[in-house]
Amino acid sequence: MRSVSTDQPGAGQATVGIPHEGERVSVDHAFGISEHAEDGLLRVAVRGEVDVATAPTLREHLYDAVDRSSGVVVVDLSAVTFIDSTALGVLIGAQERSRDHGTQLRIILNEARIVKIFEITGLTELFSIFPTVAEAVAP
């Protein structure tokens, strides 16, 4: 996916993704989602701050990915810089949806601040969590 970064004075950076065929991108200031189909699984990569404002967008993309998947959906949170309970609720909902569809949700998590939030809330027990893409996509 080609990316173009633009600087908005006083508002930080916003990144616009120009999707190639098979990719879907949604951007909202510092927050972005990209999707990649690789080796029979879908990887949804999230970046930036996932909070009460951006969680609905994540929900829309993630639920759609789960519905389209016939196997594994990998949610890559390695570029997430902030996550709150609203966003965690979206992930829990996606997990439940994937179980209903007979698919599997895997999460990539390696940023210490974000890992801590999963540990505080007990969600490390609920999700299949991997520190790298390679480990998450391994059969």
Binding site: V52, D84, G89
Partner: protein
């Protein structure tokens, strides 16, 4: 040095970021370190989310008070609200929010004083504990 900052925002999810930014700014001036700032940023977000998710209109009135190595954040809603649903789901958003606040701040609570829903937290900088 004691400092008080007030922020009033409409109940809109995309404006909660202003509350996070203000909290970090006030706490930074009070001497909080990087990790404490991150913890407070999330805790203040959870305070606001607990009200934003139960309201569709009105204004959030936030007060940030720093002094003696601690920061107190008070968030009151001027507008209609409904209390969070009481469920047995340990992974419900309200329970997650409470767990986050329990872990990241020293004290937090909520009440319905003067007919307004109010949530608050208090966090002390580790460097100032015992001083």
């Amino acid at each position: 040095m004691s400092e008080s900052v007030e922020l009033t925002i409409p109940v809109q999810s995309d404006l909660v970021v202003l509350a996070r930014l203000t909290a970090v700014t006030v706490a930074s001036r009070a001497g909080f370190d990087v990790e404490e700032l991150e913890n407070l940023r999330l805790a203040v977000d959870e305070l606001c989310v607990s009200i934003v998710n139960g309201s569709s209109a009105g204004r959030l009135n936030l007060t940030f008070v720093s002094g003696d190595g601690s920061v107190e954040v008070d968030c009151a809603l001027d507008g209609p609200t409904s209390p969070p649903a009481d469920t047995d789901d340990i992974y419900g958003e309200h329970d997650l929010s409470v767990r986050i606040l329990d872990a990241l701040v020293d004290e937090h609570g909520e009440d319905m004083g003067d007919g307004r829903r109010r949530v608050w937290l208090r966090k002390r900088s580790i460097r100032h504990e015992g001083s």
